[in-house]
Symmetry: C2
Subunit: 659 residues, 2 copies
Amino acid sequence: MSSPKHFKENMAPSENESEHVEELGVKEKNHSKTVQWVLNPPEPPTLWCEFTGSIKAALPSKSRPIWSHVMVFLNGLFPILQWGRNYNLRMFKSDLMAGLTLASLSIPQSIGYAGLARLDPQYGLYTSVVPPLIYAVMGSSREIAIGPVAVISLLLSSMIQKSADPSVDPTSYRKMVFTATFFAGVFQAAFGILRLGFLVDFLSHAAIVGFMGGAAIVIGLQQLKGLLGITHFTNKTDVISVVRAVWVAVHQPWHPHNFLIGCLFLIFILIARFLGRRNKKLFWLPAIAPLLSVVLSTLMVFLTRADNHGVKTVQYVKGGLNPSSASQLEFNGSHVGEAAKIGLIAAVVALTEAVAVGRSFASAKGYHIDGNKEMTAMGFMNITGSLTSCYVATGSFSRSAVNFSAGCKTAVSNIVMAITVFLALQFLTRLLYYTPTTILASIILSALPGLIDIGEAYEIWKVDKQDFLACIGAFFGVLFCSVEIGLLVAVTISFANIILNLLRPRIQMLGRIQGTDIFCSVSQYPVAVKTPGFLITRIDSSFFSFINANFVRDRILSWAVEDHTSENSDEAGQKVQFVIIDMSNVVNIDTSGIAALEDIHKKLVSHGLQLMFANPGWQVIQKLKLSKFIDKIGGDKIFFTVGEAVDACLESKKEFSMC
Amino acid sequence: MSSPKHFKENMAPSENESEHVEELGVKEKNHSKTVQWVLNPPEPPTLWCEFTGSIKAALPSKSRPIWSHVMVFLNGLFPILQWGRNYNLRMFKSDLMAGLTLASLSIPQSIGYAGLARLDPQYGLYTSVVPPLIYAVMGSSREIAIGPVAVISLLLSSMIQKSADPSVDPTSYRKMVFTATFFAGVFQAAFGILRLGFLVDFLSHAAIVGFMGGAAIVIGLQQLKGLLGITHFTNKTDVISVVRAVWVAVHQPWHPHNFLIGCLFLIFILIARFLGRRNKKLFWLPAIAPLLSVVLSTLMVFLTRADNHGVKTVQYVKGGLNPSSASQLEFNGSHVGEAAKIGLIAAVVALTEAVAVGRSFASAKGYHIDGNKEMTAMGFMNITGSLTSCYVATGSFSRSAVNFSAGCKTAVSNIVMAITVFLALQFLTRLLYYTPTTILASIILSALPGLIDIGEAYEIWKVDKQDFLACIGAFFGVLFCSVEIGLLVAVTISFANIILNLLRPRIQMLGRIQGTDIFCSVSQYPVAVKTPGFLITRIDSSFFSFINANFVRDRILSWAVEDHTSENSDEAGQKVQFVIIDMSNVVNIDTSGIAALEDIHKKLVSHGLQLMFANPGWQVIQKLKLSKFIDKIGGDKIFFTVGEAVDACLESKKEFSMC
């Protein structure tokens, strides 16, 4: 669709135009006025201004006193200072209940995810203590539940075990984990402070759906190790390696008890979830089921001494508060570059998940989350985490949903959860001795269906095939290669889609909607009628640049020149005499684009055709002026609207025929 | 500037609208009609269709007999079959003169460029024999002069000598050169056949200007070796290494005779060029000057026996026709991947130069060059070249200009040139024994100023700062790192510019031009007036996708919600009640974009605001329908133009206030 149109006093069809001789004088005058609007707009803001503008907006204005600045800064950094003032007992009651529900889900999940990250169980619990506390004072989301999550656990273990094998050298593996966590925190904080939040956008919605689905299947397959009680398992995460490892393992002697217990409790948890979903009042049932499974299965093993009959148990879990891990960070080893790379990937994936979770709940409750502040909070949380034996924490989809339905009011529910986990670490770790590892596999497995969103994938397929390509690319990349290859494939396909869209912009032929001055694409709107003797085109690309300049030039020239030189003229028996390029959609242009316009102009003039431009964008007109292109073609070839350009041409034609 | 507008019968300002009660019925009817246009457009073509369409257009249609297809195909592949039919004696006379002039420039340049490529002199001459002959029958440009060029020679030597040192093992260096040439030809032919010509566009105009400038300086510095008669020189091409090597060399005993002779003839060639430029009739003088310098300096050395006094000479040059090099191509060595990579880079750079040269002369003479066919011709030319001891050939800027001013009519001038060079190879190579190498350095140096285009760089700086960044990046990349780093920097910056433009699209507030239905940006057109109670925005991006969806959503929401919830209302004392998003500029959308629109809708509804869309693009409306977004918000929220949307809102407001 096209540029705005000009004053049009009656609804007579355009062919009658030539009769309104006296009208043309008025139009002439109006044109000279509108051309001035087009040719002399205010200075457009530079891209630099736009970028610094967003930073300036975040900085305090100078008019207020210093202490006020400090307060604003502190309020921004620690949102708890704001909402804490209105905190009351009623809210605390809700938060207490939500926090306890959350903790009952967090404890078994944290232990399970620590296993996925190939760390000892206590590290999962540590990660559910410190990061939620930091987030509670710095974060702005009220529902998000902070702690270890499945995808990040898998991501870390799959990438780090390439540099350090946890089964051979757990100490250097752990050092690598903490160093990567530290880097992840630094990157996240940097993104937030430098307002680089848009980096998270590089993972498109479709890519995330595919990536999550693939990761969920990979995680599920990893759980076969625990479910089947396999001791030796592959370090790789791709489907083929895992299936092969399972195939080898089940052909060696194994203990079906593990599998039986695991399946039994998996079914129990799934039934609990089903009931919870059918009856909203039983929301606590799916939340408490995992802990209940742990307690029941532990009792079962303890009473039957099944651990002597091949059932693997968690055994010794170190209790007590998070020890310091500051001395374990390594910044001068050979793996520091690798750790930074892993940290960067983990930072982006963790932020993507957290921001998505935070935003969806914030929008449900109708408040706003500032992505950049959120990133800063996450960054400090992970930096602190890396010093206190935690690995990368982020917002969990499943636990945040539990937190939300348990009726949390503020981030205090995270504090309650952290304290509960801490108490469990302090007093209850010895009770975990007889907990079968297979139960942890069941708990992780039960959380996976939430990550696989087939409905959304189908929706993407239906709406946008190109987008679906990114989705399926991420899915198969994760499934058959590795987590990071999957991410890389997704980002590459997403960007290739953008480049492809830019490379071959659509160039529309415009026609007039009868009785109006509206010109729009004759393909999109078959009611539009081409004006005889005119080739009116619109470049459907916001950036007319090196990447599409040659294509656009060749297309317009071939239309114009073919039409002009061919024997057969158009329906109305007129050959093209005027070419109008509607630039409404072109927001920016570069020197290659200007060169292409010059080529078009030169060639058309050599064929005796006239070239006109309608409605160039703000930056475009600026650059056309700077490059003297307007001086070259003449300011009278630029119009405010396509309608004005057509009128001017018809008039000049009539004057010519009168002579 | 904004969407087209709707029928507007009088020029009364918009505020009076509410008075025209009976008019609204008509508008209502019109609206339901236009909405149908918007909501039910024909099926838009898929991107796949657009791509295959361009291939289909190139394939012959089925209606004609087979022999006609064969003729069309052969005519396409060998343009000589077409223009050859009309060739006559008069044209041959012109071509003969042009070809001889060209040869007199080609012979010394070819020998010099072979030195730059670190090959023996005869390989430069070989490259001026076979490729021009192949191009003459397959190429479509009439002016382009084919042969070795400076930038490609430098590119090849700088990249290949990392794998094989020509001073240590010239045979394996040569094998690598021919293999890379073969790959370059294969890539070029593949680009042409698969219609991937757009790959050449990835080097923007600005990047080429910077790259050429940097390469010219690097080539000039390389010539110091010949000019100063240095024996041991650095293999690196960056400024710092070269200056250091020269510094070391001049502090050892050296022979100033080389330098004297070189400077003398450099001045002679430059004066000849100056005279040629001042007097168009003397165009042959700069063309003949290099050959004249070679003859004179050779005579001088021969008569004074200066080669015994430290003047370096070319010495033995192998005569005779190009020997076969088919057996020297290596496809199973360790360097084959490297050779393919070098071939790819050389292919792209060579095509960029050739297509630029070809197009500029074709546009001067008013004919068209098909980029894809040209690439196929170049590809076959280089494949054949690699089998006949040639290295990568392409169209030379300087020699094409000489060919043009010498009055060439067709590619026959290339044939004449090739035959002349062949005769020189056959009979005259022994005369080159006493030619001083310093003279070759002078000839190359004299050709360099044409590659440095400071005026154009300044023009780019003036018009487009972002573009200039790509230019200067390529320049310094070539100068201080290496040729391929320079190219990489240029391409990266160019694409980063595009991504940056997409990341932060401008979102304009629209206002009405008084007395019309034109809505345009209030920042670009200060005459436009905001409508009280409305927030009318336009997304200035052709692709509303994952990369900018969050930014656009946050910006529009913050404007709408801030304005709505803030204490102070707008100038007219009205708070925003209606939000209209003008989608004219949005050509395509992806699922992230649709999700952002859903967020906007949800949030605005929760604040009691109404959201409307005007003029969505063809693909956009299609995808919004497929994703059921239109069902969600209601088809009555989509309008053909902003004007219609505003009218409908005002009407509904009036009805509401009447109740």
